[in-house]
Symmetry: C2
Subunit: 411 residues, 2 copies
């Protein structure tokens, strides 16, 4: 298909990522993408790098996912290899052979153990990926590894993305400043757990693998698992976070170390920014929607109610039509399966209260809400008023563009 | 909004419903619909009529739903009053007052007990419905009750439906022939449990309320709860089945009475036909999709897998694009949360096997499948190959028409 115009919700500028000591990257084209664009990324990680991650909960996962699930148990990484253009999912034994060949090729160029190699693939499902498609390209791409290769790497993992996604943070652990860089891809098949969504984060901090995993688990819940574009969960979703340990700082032994607080916050903030960038590139999106739920029986209940609203095609098409159709929000709250009281529910859009105690507010004037709906950033607030649980989720509207893109993806 | 063209999936002809002894109906216009169409239905039922039903599981149900839930406990019915144009949902105490006034008005014109009156409302959510809007129209509509009023009644319950939906069956209980008539409405906010979907069935058979309820429970699962248009569940979904007992036949005492077998089958078949008519009127639908799942660990698992496929926006847009994108079917199976084995999964479209044992079949030729995708009736078969559970679900594709309709419903 023809290249898509850049999403109207894309940020005006993209950050230039600084170096992260211990990380070198490259992105190149090996012919997997029909348009000839970059489709292979290699990240080389310094010896001693720890790794943690979160993988799709799909019960039909891709071959690379099954590999990563095993490799993550070791908690050590020397390389991350990612291709776009072919997801190597539902390719049976052939898929496993391709993973094995890719691992072998990476071991040869990087000089490491097989379980220090992590692989992700994204693109069309069910098309065989020749065993040596990636491995034969590795010696060449390895020659191009650079500490400044972030832009090429972010390009190489794109599929239907209309812009490359990257974030950076610098933060202190004790007295020492460390860097966190992240890149991500994804714009459709996006839902919690987790959609064709790939995100790779890197830091020069020295964090034990189990601590890194605890940080990832918490941050993923509040970021990548709190976004949805279309409720579809991919066979290939992957978040990996590598810590090279190249920068020495006050030692870290557990996730709740006090001197790790800023780092934890920076990771969560970086992941939320990446997750929001994915929503801002939602297929066909014309509005970025923030849904804040409070007063639920628990945080989990609040998140499920938020996602029921965010996934409702009726809510999403109403937003696309700039229609403040709050009745559909009531419908979505009702179908979420979480406790709610019709006669306590409060809804506000754009900061304007519309309902309170289960009824439209006296003298409700839709004018300012209609004005808000015409903007690109929509804010919906729900107050269940029966508990203290709260959560925020992000989504986009459902437009003709989504159908244009997805009715002809393979052609 | 302007009247929609009739769905391309509408049946070529509509049945003329015969009389059902003990049932008289009328449909009229009372100004709730902006276009001035019929928007109030009254069905009067003979003394002794039993009733059973299934109501939305939404936790923010409409006032009429809460009324019906209580009234169903009595198992007796003398009247069903349905309005379109306003769902009387999320209208707080005002909604309850409107229901009370409508019940009172119906008691007056029919001459019955309050808990023999059943009410359903469909249309915009959250707009107050004046207390006497319906009750003041009841004396007039009661004058027009006719045993032949089926067409007017089916018209009066429509909202965005592009055609009226009705079915009929005749079947023997013992030696005696009885009739089952049904009318339904719904084309969006359609998903199990159960969407803005109203269906009313009537028979002249004499069936105790508890037996009727058992028959409804089973048939609803295989019909209305096996369809989805957009995964959205309404605040107002209602199925009611009234048995007037006006025709005398071999007595019925329990649902598994042998002489009730044909009747049970006819009810299920009538409900499936009504459910399919709703899908055929799915907002913007251009293809009717049947998804048959077998080899799952249980019937429930098969149904959930079928619905995960049927609800996937990516599957539905691919079908709209006439793209045999079976990779998205794999994705949907994976996200269903039911046990599946990637290496056993078989998929066929239009009767053509595409994958077997988790891989594309040798020499797969897409030509006949691509041809099938161009038709209006799409059949997808899934074989999990790990158990004996099976289920069939029905859905439609997701097109630009859906977005056109739902981006401007209130305007």
């Amino acid at each position: 298909m023809a290249a898509l115009p850049v999403s109207p919700l894309a940020p005006a500028t993209q950050p230039v990522l600084p170096k992260v000591a211990g990380v070198r990257l490259a992105g190149t084209a090996i012919g997997l993408k029909k348009n000839g664009g970059r489709d292979l990324m290699l990240a080389e990680l310094a010896p001693g790098t720890t790794i943690a991650g979160a993988l799709t909960r799909s019960l039909c996962p891709s071959a690379p996912i099954e590999w990563c699930r095993k490799a993550l148990k070791g908690g050590k990484a020397r390389a991350i290899v990612v291709n776009s253009g072919n997801s190597n999912a539902f390719t049976g034994n052939a898929g496993d052979l391709t993973v094995a060949a890719t691992v072998k090729g990476t071991v040869a160029v990087v000089g490491c153990q097989p379980d220090e190699v992590f692989i992700a693939s994204t693109g069309v499902i069910g098309q065989p990926l020749p065993p040596d498609a990636i491995s034969r390209a590795l010696p060449d791409i390895a020659k191009n590894l650079r500490a400044t290769g972030w832009k090429d790497a972010a390009e190489a993992i794109r599929t239907t993305d209309t812009f490359a996604k990257s974030v950076t943070r610098t933060v202190a652990i004790g007295e020492t400043r460390v860097t966190i860089n992240g890149i991500a891809k994804g714009s459709g098949m996006i839902a919690p757990d987790m959609a064709t969504m790939l995100a790779f984060l890197f830091t020069d901090a020295a964090i034990p693998a189990d601590v890194l995993q605890a940080i990832v688990d918490r941050a993923v819940k509040r970021s990548f698992n709190s976004i949805t574009v279309d409720s579809d969960t991919s066979t290939s979703d992957t978040v990996l976070f590598a810590a090279t340990g190249a920068t020495k700082h006050k030692p870290v032994t557990q996730a709740d170390d006090k001197h790790l607080k800023d780092f934890r916050r920076a990771v969560e903030s970086a992941m939320i920014e990446l997750a929001q960038l994915i929503v801002r590139d939602g297929e066909g999106a014309s509005k970025f929607v923030t849904i804040k739920v409070r007063g639920a029986t628990s945080g989990g209940a609040a998140r499920r109610i938020g996602l029921a609203i965010a996934n409702s095609p009726l809510v999403k098409t109403a937003i696309a039509g700039e229609d403040a159709n709050w009745g559909r929000i009531v419908m979505a709250v009702g179908k979420a399966g979480e406790r709610a009281d019709r006669d306590r529910l409060g809804i506000a859009i754009g900061g304007v209260p519309i309902t309170r105690n289960g009824q439209i507010v006296d003298g409700y004037d839709e004018t300012p809400v209609a004005q808000h709906m015409k903007g690109k950033e929509i804010e919906i607030e729900i107050d269940l008023d029966i508990g203290k649980g709260k959560a925020t989720v992000w989504t986009c509207d459902l437009t003709h563009g989504y159908i244009d893109i997805n009715g002809s993806y393979r052609s």
